[in-house]
Amino acid sequence: MTDPTSLSPLDLETPDKTFLDANELVINMGPQHPATHGVLRVILRLDGEKVMGLECVIGYLHRGVEKIAENRTYTMFNPYVDRMDYVAAVSNGLGYCEAVEKLLNVEAPPRAQYVRVILTELNRMASHQLWLGTHALDIGAITPLFYTFRDREEILKIFEKYCGARLTTHAFRIGGLQYETYDGFEKDVKTFVAFVRPKIDEYEELLTTNRIWLERTKGVGKISGKDAIALGVTGPVLRASGVKWDIRKALPYANYKNFDFDIPTGENGDTYDRYLVRMAEFRQSLRIIEQAVDHIPEGPIMAKVPKVIKPPVGEIYHSIEAPKGELGYFIVSDGSTQPYRIRVRPPSFVNLQALEVMCRGQLVADVIAVIGTLDIVLGEVDR
């Protein structure tokens, strides 16, 4: 593997002295700023418009999710994970449920697995749509936001019909699903797939070959695959740097190994590649959903899980490929009904570390673009 000491941009070299030897301008971007996606606070040291360095201040949305877990039973904690990455609540739930199932050594029945995959992939699309809208808005294109939200609405409608909630769904239970799918679920999903496929082309039409978009994103916020690995960056950000790493393929969970899909990767690791990778992931998600919805098996939706969940003493680490990257749950059980310790590996938090490497030497406007392209959710960063 990579030798961490040989990483060049990560060495915090002293930045150049400012132009005209003028004083550095220290700007406090956030926690209330339209483009920091919530309550991220970035302290920028500027030379005019050039970023000499930056520091992220986080914790404004800290709720102590991991500590709360220690005082809740395994079942009771399940809804809490939805509140971390609230735009991809289904993925969070999937990771947690699977981790506990692994600890209990049970497996969800196949029908539940298929429904889980469909919902998770729908959620991935919803998350990416939200990312695309806000990212484009940050760069100044205000229209894609409304297009993506229009289509995301359809996904949320399916969620609402399935489990009654739109955002914090609490869709899965430990051991499977609580609810059988509603009548017409398959039809809704198929309609949605047919509906959204041309819409993705519509987003791309507005942006992919737009000159200003190209100029704003190409070569901005570059990070090499080596650096990305060293920083622990995962998800589309890592894949855009040319590293073909997707947990759905590498450490298959749910029943992703049954589906045929590609891992889109980029080459340059810049903002434009990350955009392209995510746009390709839209289409891959559609592929997975189509395959899954065609082959949903009949059968039970809940495995045999005791009423009171008391996992055996032990610890488990389980990670899934959330829309933003590797979402891991490390659960330590002392044999009681409550977890002894839960540690979440949130993708946004780890990816945010790369912000400084990606922004140093760029302009203020690029910081905005890079924050957008990292696709962070502060609920997850701060937990």
């Binding site: 132009f19 005209l20 030897d21 003028a22 004083n23």
Partner: protein, 187 residues
Amino acid sequence: MNPAGMIPAGTNPPVATPFFFYLLAAIMVIGGVMVITRKNAVHSAMALITTLLAQAALYLMLYAPFVAGVQIILYAGGIMVLFLFVIMLISIERAEKERQFNKQWPVGIVAAAALGGLFIAVYTTTTKGRALFPEGRMTYGETQNTQQIAALLFDRTAGQYMFAFEIASLLLLVAIIGAVVMAKKRI
């Protein structure tokens, strides 16, 4: 007011010239005083802009619309923006707290007073009972002012200032290069 007979047909008599003159003159003098007395350079610059705009209005009263236009576009719109830009670039908080006038200020005042005396002496001189500058006899409309200036600058036969104009453009080029060389640390 100018008697109507002095004005060629087709132009209109100017309205309330003395009133506007004294108004603009007052603005200019007050602005000038503000320029040299303000602590804050930005305030000085604002005062100077006011002065320059009032002067542009005076040019209009003098039937020199082209010069007025150049004054607005170059002075107020160009040079003063440059000034403001530089004032913002260099920190001024410290400069405000320091002593504003240098040690030789009495000398300066005396010299200026002497100069003022000279002006008064010259402007009140009369030779053979006539003032130095008798008033002009006729006022011309502004309809062709720009074209006439252009003729002086560029015309093949009447253009006396074509060479000077080229030299001026060269001067500007030199100034641009000089400013860049001095302001930029590494070229």
